[in-house]
Amino acid sequence: MEEKIKKILQKALAGLEAATTENINELQSKFLGRRSELNEILKSLGKLSLEEKKKVGAQANKTRQEIEKAFESKRQQLQPKVNDLKIDFTAPGKYFAVGHLHPVTQVMTEILEVFKSMGYEIADGPEVEDDWHNFEALNLPPEHPARDMQDTFYLTDGNVLRTHTSPVQIRYTEKHKPPIKIVSPGRCYRNENEDASHSWSFHQIEGLVIDKNITFADLKGTLEVLAKALLGPETRTRFRPSFFPYTEPSAELDASCPHCKGAGCRSCGYSGWLELLGSGMVHPEVLKNMKIDPDKYTGFAFGLGPERVAAIKHEIPDVRYFWHPDVKFLEQF
């Protein structure tokens, strides 16, 4: 009997050697279960003499404990280990293609978010415009130099590719009365030879605010907020007189160069300032063309070029990059 129990132990330990996570439960019931040899022995103890009972019982129980312990430690062994698969953590993961929004789109979205947060509505209009909306209503009479064939793409039907997004303002006011607070983003076109600072198309974001009591100071304040939102809170601004046919007074906003903080560098032509946008109070003639009474209402308008803002922000030296798709350029943004 003694020998038999020893054999059971040996068999169990030998069997356990080859145990896997799959068969360990099976083995455990084989060696320790109700129908196992060891259990049979324990169950048959009653038939033995007291002395033998003591001796065999003690041996069998000890063996049982030993086997249990062996199983326990085997189970431990079989527990999966961290990084059992020897994963190389430095190797690249599964590849997901990376897309890129055009840098100008990114800037436009950013600008529009600023305006949306200030309660502006986004308005849009067609890219091909008639003479009235693109020129005449904006105080650009037929003989105005800006209308030269040189600057404008004309269609054979007499319409034009809009030279600015200002016609949207005219279209919007055909359907809406003050208070008006809109921005109009979109593509515009100029018939100019391409060079580092000129392209045939470009984008504009124009703003228009009309109500009673809108002041020139409101324009200045609005543009300062915009400049800081776009170029950083430390941005300083310079508001200076300018000329546009559709605004009076007119103003340009210069922002301190974000690269040199106004000290002067290549980006700002060593002046410390960057021309950011043109603006002004809506010209009374334009208000009249919008069928808005200039004696009762005042308004301001401004326009900025996202290409210019993108060029400033990312130090892009040539606007032609924007219009001639090159992955090596686009992937940078």
């Binding site: 055009h102 198309s201 100071a217 304040g221 200076r240 924007f322 219009w323």
Partner: protein
């Protein structure tokens, strides 16, 4: 416009450094392009050559010692062959700069050199590079060479198109002086020869008054041609003009002073038939020619304005003079032309002749009609002072247009409200006066009283009578015109134009009317002035009885009027001539008159108005907004506070188009696509390649490139070009562009614009791989916007496989496909909101069925068939399509994943089995061969 500081400072006492001036000009609205000197070099000093030795190591080099006014002479190595001891030469010192190069201490063949002796060319003074520049022997050693040259600091200004007055130094001096100092312009006086009248020497005939509203001419006789004085030459050089001789220099000088381009003809070369020469301003004839001063034979056409004598053209008006009447050394007598030409015509002529000149850049901005009066006398004065000439008596002046004087009424309250500032009345007046505007507090009563006692004259008007005589309505019109309130020229106009006020509410400034004596017949029309010099005719039938008289209420029960008639003994009787004048009468004279009509008012508030008269050279100032700008820029844009608009509440409206496109862009970028922008211009070939009708494509009238003469009707051609440009950069290129495409519309309307998305895929793994990506992107888009693909109308989207032929045309070496979606329509198809769908509380069961089909079998048909076979099929989708071994070339294996469930109970195995069998039946009907049973 170059503004030399020394020249400027002759006219102003403003003490500012060049940098401060540039800053100041920027802040008053002049765009400063550059700030620099006339000469592009630094640290160049006059030196004296003390010794010359041969360079020990180089045959062609010399070793010199040069005295530059400091203690020790400099050792300089020099290669010039015109060196000699004792000459004065320009020397650039170490640390200085010539010809764009910085000069450092150099070692030339073993000998140190401390500077450089310069040639004319190196200094940018001429083309001579044969040797060094040798200066006058009396030039002082140690003098800064710039000082020696009379070099000036120059601010270059980009003059705004509305400011022709700033195309002259005088105008710029006004800008600088405004609010900062005093302005002193030279006195102009012409010593005329009393014995010879200009009129007897020449006749001016303007055939085209619209193109030449003013032409003035003077003759200066006996000029002696010679060099100009140095100061004049220096000034011309400082604005970039080469001095020629005293006479030519004066014409340029006066242009730079005043902004008025002048032309000097050699008077003796003008055809002179009989006693008098004749200048004719006319359009060119067809095929007429003129050789201009630059020696070019210009071909002219009738769109161009010419100055001609009785035989030949002598100048292209406002653009350039003719060679035939050019001033030269033999010239004795000068005809000065000072004119105003139509700006548009000048611009067009200049453009079509491709001929720019200083004159054109001024005329094309539009010159004020008064300017020639000033400039022609200034030129005559200088011709006599500097060229010994003498002007004949009188100026010929052909003026065909009324010189408009712009009055404006400025309310300080409105100015403050508009600008958001707080100026006082007097501050506004001071600012305007500093810009040489006339500005005075407007008091309508005082203004009216000024004219008391002036004679009555029926039909008096501004052109003839100014403020010397009035009739009743001209008096009131005149007074109101001082604040640019246009009330009408006649009593009828004034009665019709104002708004009615009760006699009990009378206020100073109101106008009272009675029928009175009507000089001519009753009329129903009058002309209304728009305040800019234009009139419109107005008809009214409101006053059939007519209206004959009015007067201005001045308060205290008194009226001022100009009257010729009075009501006596029941009828209108003419007063004695001496009593026909501007006078005060009691208000009852009107109100108690049996023919009293009523009272009219024109301005809400006449208090605190400033009557402004715009100076003649500021034609850009036409309305109050223009005055606001003048005040703001002198007040300083910097001093304007920064506020945000206080508006009535508006509900911000979301732009759904923008939202849709923005979301789409984000989606596409997030799944790996890169956004591109391309120009919308394409060729006929581009359009026709993709089967579009060229007749539908809007055509560009003036394309930059002939092969880009149409607006695109499809985004694909530009996409293919972009893919081709980038095809070798990566194995997969995925681009997208969102842009408008254009199609012609009904005549008289704008082209139809449609917003399209074009996705272009180039995948080196092959066309099928590219297609799968394009289709997957489409699937992703419709899923994103919860669009049921099946419900999309035809033609909203397509995937284009690119044929080898087209690939060839677009230089594509790799297979590409394009996906095109009409976004306007796609957006419409997208549900506005998602609606909750009931969810079964019983388990969902998934089963896959694989079957082998003929390759022609459409996936959509398989899914449609399966979905319809039982209500228990909640969803069916294709999860795999396999082609290849072990199947035939015309076979494919399709695996469909079914989702089954019921809203009523948990499905039993039997029910599931039944449903699957139904599906299998359908598949078999479609010709499918079930593979390996089911899972």
């Amino acid at each position: 416009m170059k503004m030399p500081l020394k020249w400027l400072k002759e006219y102003t006492n403003v003490e500012m450094t060049a940098k401060q001036l540039a800053e100041h000009l920027t802040m008053v609205g002049q765009e400063v392009e550059s700030l620099g000197g006339t000469h592009d070099f630094d640290k160049v000093i006059i030196g004296e050559v003390l010794s010359i030795e041969k360079h020990p190591n180089a045959d062609k080099l010399h070793l010199t010692k040069v005295n530059v006014g400091i203690k020790d002479p400099l050792q300089i190595v020099c290669g010039a062959n015109n060196l000699s001891i004792g000459i004065r030469v320009p020397v650039v010192l170490v640390g200085g700069r010539v010809a764009g190069f910085k000069i450092d201490k150099a070692n030339l063949r073993g000998i140190e050199s401390f500077g450089m002796i310069c040639s004319e060319k190196e200094l940018g003074l001429g083309d001579n590079h044969d040797g060094i520049l040798i200066l006058d022997q009396d030039s002082k050693v140690g003098t800064d060479f710039k000082e020696y040259l009379g070099s000036e600091t120059v601010i270059d200004i980009k003059v705004q198109p509305n400011r022709p007055d700033c195309m002259g130094i005088w105008g710029l001096a006004r800008e600088v002086a405004a609010g900062k100092g005093k302005l002193t312009l030279p006195n102009i006086n012409v010593a005329e020869d009393k014995n010879e009248k200009t009129l007897e020497l020449v006749e001016i005939q303007v055939d085209e008054p619209d193109l030449c509203p003013r032409y003035m001419a003077r003759i200066v006789k006996g000029v002696k041609i010679g060099p100009s004085p140095k100061w004049l030459q220096d000034r011309l050089k400082s604005v970039g003009v080469r001095p020629i001789n005293n006479v030519v220099d004066i014409s340029n000088y006066v242009m730079f002073e005043t902004g008025q381009p002048l032309h000097f003809f050699d008077f003796d070369k003008i055809a002179n038939r009989g006693k008098k020469a004749k200048i004719i301003i006319r359009r060119a004839k067809k095929n007429e020619n003129l050789t201009t001063l630059d020696g070019v034979n210009q071909k002219l056409n009738p769109d161009m304005l010419l100055i001609s004598d009785e035989k030949n053209p002598v100048a292209v008006a406002g653009v350039m003079g003719g060679k035939n009447t050019e001033v030269n050394d033999a010239t004795k007598n000068i005809l000065i032309e000072a004119a105003v030409f139509d700006k548009t015509n000048i611009r067009k002529t200049s453009k079509s002749l491709n001929l720019r000149s200083e004159a054109v850049s001024r005329f094309e901005k539009g010159l004020p009609l008064t300017l020639p009066e000033i400039s022609i006398d200034r030129a005559a004065q200088l011709l006599s002072e500097l060229a010994g000439g003498k002007a004949t008596k009188g100026t010929i002046d052909v003026l065909s247009k009324w010189i408009w004087i712009q009055h404006l009424g400025l309310s300080v309250a409105k100015t403050n409200k508009f600008l958001g500032i707080d100026t006082k009345n007097q501050e506004c007046i001071d600012i305007l006066r500093s810009l040489e505007f006339e500005a005075d507090k407007f008091d309508i009563v005082n203004e009216a009283k000024k004219h008391l006692g002036k004679p009555y004259l029926y039909g008096a008007n501004y052109k003839q009578n100014r403020a010397e005589a009035f009739d009743c309505s001209y008096l009131t019109d005149y007074i109101y015109s001082l604040i640019n309130v246009q009330i009408g020229h006649t009593s009828l106009g004034q009665l019709h134009h104002g708004w009615e006020v009760k006699t009990s509410d009378l206020r100073a400034g109101d106008i009272l009317f009675y029928k009175g004596h009507i000089d001519k017949s009753v009329t129903n029309e009058y002309h209304k002035n728009d305040g800019k010099g234009n009139h419109t005719k107005v008809l009214t039938n409101k006053y059939p009885e007519g209206v004959g008289h009015n007067g201005l209420y001045i308060g205290d029960g008194k009226v001022i009027h100009a009257a010729a008639y009075e009501y006596k003994e029941g009828k209108w009787q003419e007063k004695a001539k001496s009593d026909q004048k501007v006078e005060i009468v009691p208000v009852e004279y009107f109100t108690k008159n049996p023919e009293f009509i009523g009272v009219r008012r024109y301005v809400e508030n006449l208090d605190n108005l400033i009557a402004v008269t715009v100076p003649w050279w500021r034609e850009d100032v036409k309305n109050n907004a223009d005055l606001y700008e003048e005040i703001a820029r002198v007040w300083g844009y910097n001093n304007i506070p920064s506020t945000l608009p206080e508006m009535r509440d508006i509900l911000p409206r979301e732009n759904l188009d923008y939202k849709f496109v923005n979301k789409l862009r984000q989606l596409l970028a997030s799944i790996g696509l890169t956004e591109i922008f391309t120009y919308p211009f394409v060729s006929k070939k581009d359009i026709e390649t993709f089967g579009e009708d060229i007749k539908q494509a809007p055509r560009v009238a003036n394309p930059l490139l002939q092969e880009q003469g149409y607006l695109r009707t499809d985004l694909i051609p530009s996409m293919l070009k972009a893919l081709a440009e980038n095809q070798f950069d990566h194995d997969i290129i995925q681009f997208f562009e969102i842009s408008q495409v254009f199609h012609k519309n009904r005549a008289g309307t704008l082209p139809k614009e449609t917003k399209n998305l074009c996705v272009g895929i180039k995948n080196d793994a092959g066309e099928k791989a590219s297609f799968d990506m394009a289709k997957g992107i489409f699937d992703r888009i419709v899923t994103e916007f919860k669009i049921d693909e099946g419900s999309l109308p035809k033609g909203i989207w397509r995937i284009e496989l690119i044929s080898p032929e087209i690939m060839n045309k677009y230089d594509l070496k790799k297979k590409a496909v394009a996906l095109v979606i009409d976004l306007d329509k796609l957006q419409k198809a997208a549900p506005k909101k998602s609606v909750f769908q009931p969810i079964s509380k019983y388990p969902y069961v998934e089963r896959d069925i694989s079957a082998v089909f003929n390759k022609n079998q459409l996936a959509k048909e398989i899914l449609d068939a399966i979905k319809k076979c039982s209500q228990l099929v909640i969803n069916a989708k294709i999860i795999d399509i396999y082609e290849g071994k072990p199947y035939d070339n015309n076979q494919k294996s399709v695996t469909v994943r079914l989702t089954l469930s019921s809203f009523d109970k948990t499905l039993t195995d039997q029910e599931i089995e039944q449903t699957i069998n139904l599906c299998i039946k359908r598949i078999v009907t479609l010709g499918g061969n079930i593979r390996g049973g089911k899972k």
